[in-house]
């Protein structure tokens, strides 16, 4: 590669909507996105338990609820109302079912309760709402749930009793989270807790999807930790020059997307980003450049990878379903966080992950989405993105390996990011959320819309 090649790539896509496209192309893009978004939203209609508002983690049989997926559900209902896919009353009912359930849930922190200290176990039984899979009390997944609750709180601003109740419960759920307890004996927030063994520590270091967690913690009017918590968390950031791109490094793409589903990071900066003369939105755009460049270089020689086919992120994988592919021994992984450039990478991509970067680099992403769907239509099952596909694992019919069913996280981020690209609805709602504004300010964010 010539020295300036990547710089040119970076420059080429530095300005959104740089290409001139005629009206027909714009309409075609809009139709494509509308179709994908509608289908992705359909996941939540399909898998929600209307009695308690809980939403299944995946479409696979007997799969439990993931509280993070409930957070995504609460966030996409407003978009669905706006687009006429769900009536406002239906949406309020679904939100209220979920919020009432969590409000009234067993918070004793016993092995089969629902939560503790305002946090909730990661996986819950779809019917009873009790802990399942011996899962951990999850701080990040609770944050995603509460981000959804606050999104609904901001959208449903009507004067009806139901909408007033919705806002009240969302507020109550947020206020009762004891973020300080979750610090345990550290400056940062612990990643989990189990009644059987206490706090868990997974050793996460560096940039992660947790900005939204820290912003919500810092915005709490009841249990906010000290502002030092954000500095302590961001102390392990790594500002790297990789493939001639300067960015806040994180390998998997979802890290550059999840907090962005709720928070509009355009033009606002914390201390770190001020120092780097960048912002998190721009950073996520650069992450796209790095992903594309990795796929173009394709150091491990995987089938399908190129600048129009990428998307390494957390998702399902073949899990040693086929120990040999194309004559080369590879270790195939199941559900794991794949990343660039240091892996793990087993040749499995996530089409939805490329699409979820739409707001950051729309032209690049749209061309990628089209190319990937054209080449591997089998990854788009029942009109939705599968969690992962592996172009190097081909079956007797010539189709590549595709993850079974669908995952709620994938459909949620797709629905939200398309909405943010099209109308910025969720961003606009959360820009007005006083807790988020306070949290951002306490974390040291300034500038832009803030």
């Amino acid at each position: 590669m010539m020295p300036n090649e990547t710089h040119e790539v970076l420059q080429l896509h530095a300005t959104p909507h740089v290409m001139n496209r005629d009206a027909a192309e714009v309409d075609a893009d809009e139709a494509l996105l509308d179709g994908i978004q509608h289908a992705a939203f359909g996941y939540f209609r399909q898998t929600v338990n209307p009695a308690n508002g809980l939403v299944a983690d995946t479409t696979r049989q007997h799969w439990p609820c993931s509280i993070a997926v409930v957070g995504f559900a609460l966030s996409v209902y407003p978009a669905a109302v706006e687009r006429g896919w769900l009536s406002r009353d239906e949406a309020v009912e679904l939100c209220l079912a979920a919020l009432r359930f969590f409000r009234d849930s067993d918070q004793r922190g016993t092995p089969d309760s629902t939560g503790y200290k305002g946090f909730y176990y990661h996986f819950l039984d779809m019917q009873s709402g009790r802990r399942t899979w011996r899962s951990e009390l999850s701080m990040i997944d609770t944050a995603l749930l509460i981000a959804g609750a606050l999104t609904a709180r901001m959208y449903f601003d009507g004067e009806t009793l139901q909408e007033a109740e919705l806002r009240e419960i969302a507020d109550e759920l947020y206020r009762r989270i004891d973020w300080r307890w979750a610090q345990h004996d550290r400056e940062t927030i612990m990643q989990g807790w189990k009644p059987e063994s206490g706090f868990l520590h997974y050793g996460w270091e560096g940039y992660s999807e947790s900005i939204v967690l820290y912003v919500l913690a810092l915005g709490s009017p009841t249990h906010a930790p000290g502002a030092r918590i954000y500095e302590a968390w961001s102390a392990t950031y790594q500002w790297e020059n990789l493939y001639d791109v300067d960015f806040l490094y994180a390998g998997p793409l979802f890290i550059h997307q999840f907090s962005h589903a709720w928070i509009d990071f355009r033009g606002i900066q914390d201390r770190f980003m001020r120092e780097k003369r960048s912002d998190y939105f721009e950073n996520s755009r650069r992450a796209v450049v790095v992903q594309r460049e990795y796929a173009r270089r394709n150091p491990l020689g995987f089938a399908g990878y190129d600048e129009h086919c990428w998307g390494l992120t957390a998702g399902d994988g073949p899990n040693n379903a086929m120990p040999r592919m194309t004559g080369v021994r590879r270790r195939l992984l199941g559900y794991t966080a794949r990343g660039v450039p240091f892996g793990p990478d087993d040749g499995t991509l996530a089409g939805w992950a490329a699409l979820a970067s739409l707001p950051f680099a729309s032209d690049v992403v749209l061309s990628t989405v089209r190319a990937m769907l054209r080449r591997y239509p089998e990854m788009y099952t029942d009109h939705r993105y599968a969690s992962g596909f592996n172009p190097g694992l081909i079956d007797a019919d010539g189709k590549c390996w595709v993850s079974a069913g669908h995952y709620g996280l994938d459909q949620g981020i797709v629905t939200m990011m398309i909405e943010n690209h099209r109308t910025q609805l969720i961003w606009r709602l959360m820009r007005k959320c006083p807790y988020v504004v306070d949290g951002l300010r306490r974390a040291g964010f300034t500038g832009g819309w803030l």
């Binding site: 868990l200 997974y202 790594q238 500002w239 020059n241 990789l242 120092e275 150091p299």
Partner: protein, 516 residues
């Protein structure tokens, strides 16, 4: 399997495997059976306690500069490094890598040999041969010829300026404590009764255990787990922390985890061994990860959970030297103890228990103790390397340490898949990361993960010590194709950002002038 069956009996006179020529040569070098301690001089400029890396380095340096020097060793000259550490472990790693390459021959366009059988006895014989050969440089007779009085026996300080060995008093102007460290044993119920390996006896194995549990994910545990796995041993490694090599950066540790899994090592992170019991010759180990309990059944257990300093039996109180069992001998930045006559160097007093650090600290002591020097330990730039495959080497600050010190830091990263030689060698796993103080070319530190990272890190160490900036490294011609070119590519990337920044400033200035 009973450990005593696979760890041979040692001869009574010294630590050696009976009847082994290489071992006999080594012992003849590092503790001759017929050795007679010399008559002591009336006064020594320097008495050194401990004949490991630090002690040998200090003794040779002091003697070569004319100081009357005595060296006291209670066991084997060469210490951990030669006898039970770096030397044998690197020898066994080399052979294990060869076996891994034989199994992977098709990656290199070669045929996988039809019958790859591990000849464990031959592996260990080679280890002993390597050890014997390197021991020649540390021989007692060689030291004597260099003018050093070598005493074997346990040293005990009797006064602030004297110590005793084998009933003989050695009076000193200055003394150096360099007694090293020994394996720390994890407090796991039943472990001692079941028997376990450490680096002190693992290299004496004559046949491999069928199933091995390695406890500890530090450098030693990682190296040994990979080596034994590649020699055909079914290996499990448990590590209490979420990642291996906790001080290294996340990507390095992750790459190592992936490499282990590829090799077939069963990796158990966030896991503790609760207890050990023996049943039918097998060792049954109960493990727990958070609240998930499991059991592994193995033939041998190897512990690699750190090292503790050797301070026992020295009567340091009599010498007025402060110490504790965890930190070892307390020293100041000049490596001086509370007794201003007595210094310490190497593993007995340093947090970084590396061979190279022991050497460097010993030379500081010689300078400060004998020649009025004021050299400080904190001035050392210490690289280190874990010799797994890929190797993981580091020097200087980590990015997180720089940020903790409010130093703005930027890291230039070159994946090894961008180095032509790494591609040609099919050794693309890893990276070069060089961190600089932002908006300068001052190198703060570097991490290299590569097949030969230990060799490559020296260039960065040199640059840091000599004050050479990353921009200058871009002007250094690196032989093509070499894996070290990845370092130059990082430097090139740095230069490109500077050029881009300069162009941007020029452009901004030009636009401003237009507005005027």
């Amino acid at each position: 399997m009973n450990l005593t069956a696979i760890v041979p009996q040692r001869s009574a006179s010294a630590t050696t495997i009976a009847g082994d020529g290489a071992e006999s040569e080594r012992i003849d070098n590092v503790h001759p059976v017929d050795w007679r301690n010399p008559p002591p001089a009336s006064h020594y400029d320097l008495v050194i306690v401990g004949g490991g890396t630090a002690g040998l380095t200090a003794a040779k340096a002091a003697a070569s500069r004319g100081a009357k020097t005595a060296l006291v060793e209670r066991h084997l000259l060469g210490g951990t490094c030669l006898n039970i550490g770096c030397v044998p472990s690197k020898a066994i790693l080399r052979t294990s890598r060869l076996y891994a390459e034989m199994h992977d021959a098709d990656r290199y366009g070669a045929c996988v040999p039809g019958d790859v059988r591990v000849d464990f006895a031959a592996v260990m014989q080679r280890v002993r041969g390597v050890r014997a050969r390197i021991s020649r440089a540390d021989s007692a007779r060689g030291l004597t010829a260099a003018g050093i009085d070598v005493f074997f026996g346990q040293a005990r300080f009797t006064r602030t300026d004297a110590l005793e060995v084998q009933g003989v008093t050695l009076r000193f102007g200055k003394a150096l404590i360099a007694t090293g460290a020994r394996p720390d044993t994890p407090a796991i119920p039943g472990l001692a009764e079941a028997g376990y390996l450490t680096n002190e006896n693992a290299f004496d194995l004559t046949r491999p255990p069928g199933r091995l549990l390695v406890i500890g994910g530090g450098p030693l545990g990682c190296e040994m787990a990979q080596a034994f796995c590649r020699l055909g041993v079914q290996t499990t490694i448990v590590q209490r922390r979420p990642l291996f090599l906790p001080r290294e950066e996340r990507d390095a540790a992750q790459i190592l985890s992936d490499a282990f899994a590829r090799d077939g090592i069963e990796v158990r992170l966030n896991t503790r061994a609760l207890n050990v019991r023996v049943d039918g010759g097998a060792k049954i180990v109960d493990l727990v990860s958070d609240d998930y309990h499991s059991t592994v059944v193995v033939d041998a257990i190897l512990t690699g959970t750190g090292r503790v300093p050797n301070t026992a039996g020295l009567d340091l109180e009599a010498a007025g030297v402060d110490f504790d069992p965890h930190r070892g001998v307390h020293v100041d930045n000049f490596l001086r103890t509370r007794n201003r006559r007595i210094y310490a160097a190497g593993d007995v007093c340093l947090g970084d228990k590396f061979n190279d650090t022991a050497q460097a600290s010993a030379l500081i002591v010689i300078e400060n103790a004998l020649f009025g020097g004021r050299r400080r330990l904190s001035e050392l730039t210490i690289p280190w390397c874990t010799y797994t495959d890929p190797e993981i080497a580091h020097v200087g600050l980590y990015a997180r340490q720089a940020r903790e010190r409010n130093i703005p830091v930027k890291t230039f990263t070159i994946p090894m898949h961008d180095a032509d030689r790494a591609i040609a060698d099919d050794e693309e796993v890893g990276f070069v990361k060089i961190s600089v103080k932002e908006r300068t070319d001052q190198i703060l530190g570097a991490t290299i993960v590569a097949r030969h990272a230990g060799e490559m890190i020296s260039e960065i160490t040199l640059a840091i010590v000599a004050g050479v900036g990353l921009g200058t490294l871009a002007r250094v011609i690196h032989a093509y194709p070499t894996q070290a070119e990845a370092i130059r590519k990082a430097a090139d990337a740095f230069v490109r950002t500077r050029v881009a920044s300069y162009r941007q400033r020029r452009s901004t200035a030009w636009l401003s002038s237009l507005r005027l």
